[in-house]
Amino acid sequence: MITVASLITLLQTALPVEGEQGGGLFTAIDWARAQFALTAIYHWLFVPLTLGLGLIMAIMETKYYRTGDLFWRRTAQFWQRLFGINFAMGVATGIILEFEFGTNWSNYSWFVGDIFGAPLAIEGIVAFFMESTFVAVMYFGWEKVSRGFHLASTWLTWLGATISAWWILVANAWMQHPVGCDFNPDTMRNEMTSFLDVALSPFAVGKFCHTVTSAWIVGAVFCVAVCSWYLLKKRETKLALESIKIGAATGLLATILAAATGHKSAQDVAAMQPMKLAAMEALYDGGTGQGLKLIEGIEVPYALSFMATNDFNGFVPGINDLLRGYTREDGTVEPSAKEKMERGRQAIADLAAYRKAKAEGADEETLSSQLSSLNSNLPYFGYGFIKDEAELVPPVAVNFWAFRVMVGFGSLFVLFFVVLLAAIYRFPKALWKDHDIASLPAWHYWLAILLLPCAYITSESGWLVAEFGRQPWTIQDMLPVGASISNIGSSAVATTFWLFLVLFTVLLAVEINIMLKQIKKGSLTPDPSPKGEGSSFQ
């Protein structure tokens, strides 16, 4: 799965793109993009389980706190062991990303660091310290602190991870839809003008809700998969039956919320990133009353127009419309790519002229006139770095299929959790009277187990849509990838790419093996007598 995703990334960056530097394979830009994609994809293998399983284990420890039942303590400790194995990899893969903005994207770091740096700093101060402090209490404090303090620590560990997700998604949302800033020609960078616009951008809110709820799905599917394995092997039956209830309920809630917030996210994309939507739909020639493609050749009539505009006959621009330019329904004109590129080059030339004039001590009138010209073309500044309009089209195939994988499996998960909860609670009774969740045919459990890799693929697909869809931009319309990188030769970045690939793959293999062995080991002791003190916490 990882190898496939990495290969897709490599192929996309390796294929010659007309107009890209060198006009051939694996330029420095290609390797920098590939490395960021690789590290982000690996990091996203572990973060969803931290967020999702963190919620589930906190619920279980709450049950222990409220009932005093040692069974729930043992159960919470079991899931925390699995959480811990995954958490370590999440931390390991995350540190690279924090610094990669500087190491591989130094132009970007300067150009928008005044805005982008703040969420990252806040993430560290508010979220990471919370996670790192309370996770130690969670792991090692069972015999050192009170039950209430320990429970609070477990919830705060999860909360820290969730707050961390908030701030990094604020940062990512700002890349997709930059707000709350103005360009300063004297400092040659964008500068923040409204923190609230950045931190509470509707784009960020939607992205956060959708991403976190999708992570809960991964946690829920993981929990259900492990429980299914136990039920299949007729082991840890009580732990499996009680845990699967929490996993299934969390999963159903998460899938419904993810679907609702996903719709909101798609509408944001339609409004702010129409080229991304067009790529997601492989829509080359847009129009009114657009259908939603399930796959090429099969579509739901009018659904895309409704999804994008809340109007069955709403206009949805295609790739060619966005390149050629078109007139919107309200009469305003979307310029063609060629015009945007010309105006972008003019903006860059105006900025250069302004800086030169200022250095030479030109009068206010001259400077004002140059600034005026700059400001009129500033919205297209980023287009000035684009050499060929073909660069403005994101990888259509990746976006199209990744979106379908995400929505397809997402829909399947809704059905899965509905059926699972029905089976657990035997509703309706008539349907389930001859079936017991603890003694279903083996293929049922195997299906639940096999949905686990599907959950990861779904989760990664969402990020492929988000990040491939915004290409060629690091900051939408403001700065393309070609103008964002550091001055590092392609061989250096290629070397670190391969080192990360080998390192993370080996560590992933170790992590999976440890996880499987830990699951096989189980919760270590037999079930205690009901509500009794039973054996020790082990």
């Binding site: 001055n487 250096a492 916490f537």
Partner: protein, 411 residues
């Protein structure tokens, strides 16, 4: 001096009330420099995790002894990690040109640092787990590697604040047209192909780097002596302290003397022009006498903490040298880092092009961003408070061999 102290009290109030202006922006630049320096100082203190790991074999002596040490530092490693990440994030938010120049330029130096920390992050959790097909020794090696290279390279990176680095900044590169794309557009570039490794050819960079290695070891031993209730280990710790502290003191004193006697990178705040000034850092300490006081107090505390545990560590029920030496480390490093940047000093000097050197003035974020982050920084005391609270709660009962053998979650 009275005017400065008045400004120190009045300006935060003015910022709170939303008043802007040059004084406000200058205060914010100095304030954020202080916060970043404080994070850097705390990071150096928290490198006791790395230091203890680097001596775990010899200090622990047996496999069980080594395991106790890993479990001791294993309760704190994430704090060090988080402080490093937050240090980077705070630097990015407050001084983005440093972030882009240093990380984008000294690529190999930072990649090596990050690699060792990536290895550390998983090594605790994975080393003794069933299913670890690489074996425990692989991850123990990773902890040792991080224990030596982490402090060495971080110390070396800090040394470049005083020794200079080989980079050029030219913002107009971004405006390269027509056809400009890729490396030709880059604003900050390393001036040679080594991308940071050339810093290690400067002997003074290595002196400070190894000083930090031995300081980390010293602090690590002090920490383990405090945190683990084991008489044998404490007795060995007292002896090992000499082997770590002596080289640290020699290297640190050597670097400090070098620093006070060397030319430094000054700048004219009115014009922004950077120039060399003989004994610049000595002048900084004399001009900012309070930093000199902090430095001296810090040095005394470090030596006191080390001396206390060498002489009495094995005799006391709970050696407390770590607290004296830890606070002393924070004060000393804080004073040195502020000395590198305050008082019109270029904190990230360029040896390739003097005027490309970074100062607080030419590399910081906008006033709006620094003011916004000022409000966020008011949370820092609360963060420190809950860290201290949890630390005390967890360390109230020291680690014992029995806890490691019978504990629910151990490494």
């Amino acid at each position: 001096m009275i005017q400065s102290m008045f400004a120190l009290l009045y300006t935060p109030l003015a910022i709170w009330r939303g008043a802007g202006g040059e004084a406000s922006y200058s205060f914010l630049q100095h304030y954020w420099c202080f916060i970043v320096a404080l994070l850097g100082a705390l990071l150096v203190f928290l490198l006791f995790v790395q230091g203890a790991n680097s001596v775990a074999g010899s200090l622990g002596r047996t496999e069980q002894g080594r395991r106790i040490i890993y479990n001791s530092t294993g309760r704190k490693w994430e704090l060090t990690f988080t402080t490093l990440v937050t240090f980077g994030g705070a630097f990015f938010a407050s001084y983005p040109l440093f972030y882009s120049t240093s990380f984008g330029g000294a690529y190999w130096l930072w990649m090596l640092i990050l690699f060792t920390f990536v290895l550390q992050a998983v090594s605790y959790e994975f080393q003794n787990k069933l299913g670890n097909f690489l074996g425990p020794k692989t991850f123990q090696f990773c902890l040792t590697l991080n224990g030596i290279l982490g402090p060495l390279l971080l110390g070396g990176a800090v040394a470049t604040f005083f020794e200079g680095s080989n980079f050029i900044v030219e913002k107009s590169n971004l405006l390269t047209l027509p056809g400009g794309v890729g490396e030709g557009l880059v604003i900050s570039s390393w001036a040679n192909a080594s991308h940071g490794l050339d810093a290690l050819l400067n002997p003074w960079v290595l002196v400070l780097g190894f000083a930090v290695v031995f300081l980390a070891r010293t602090l690590g031993i002090l920490y383990v002596m405090n945190n683990v209730a084991d008489e044998d280990l404490r007795a060995r710790g007292s002896r090992h302290l000499i082997g770590a502290a002596v080289p640290f003191v020699i290297l640190f004193v050597a670097y400090l003397v070098h620093l006070l006697l060397k030319d430094g990178y000054a700048y004219d705040p009115a014009t922004g022009v950077i120039f060399m000034e003989p004994n610049k850092y000595l002048h900084n300490l004399l001009d900012m006498w309070y930093l000199l006081v902090i430095l001296l107090i810090g040095v005394v505390l470090v030596l006191w903490g080390i001396g206390t545990d060498i002489l009495y560590g094995s005799k006391r029920s709970t050696p407390t040298g770590i607290w004296l030496a830890g606070i002393g480390t924070v004060l000393t490093v804080l004073a040195l880092l502020l000395c590198s940047a305050w008082n019109n000093t270029a904190y990230y000097p360029s040896t390739a092009d003097l005027q490309s050197s970074l100062t607080m003035q030419n590399s910081c974020s906008s006033e709006f961003t620094l003011r916004t982050m000022f409000y966020v920084s008011l949370l820092v005391p609360f963060v420190l408070a809950y860290i201290v609270y949890c630390w005390r709660a967890m360390d109230a009962r020291k680690i014992t061999k029995e806890e490691i053998e019978e504990g629910h979650h151990t490494y």
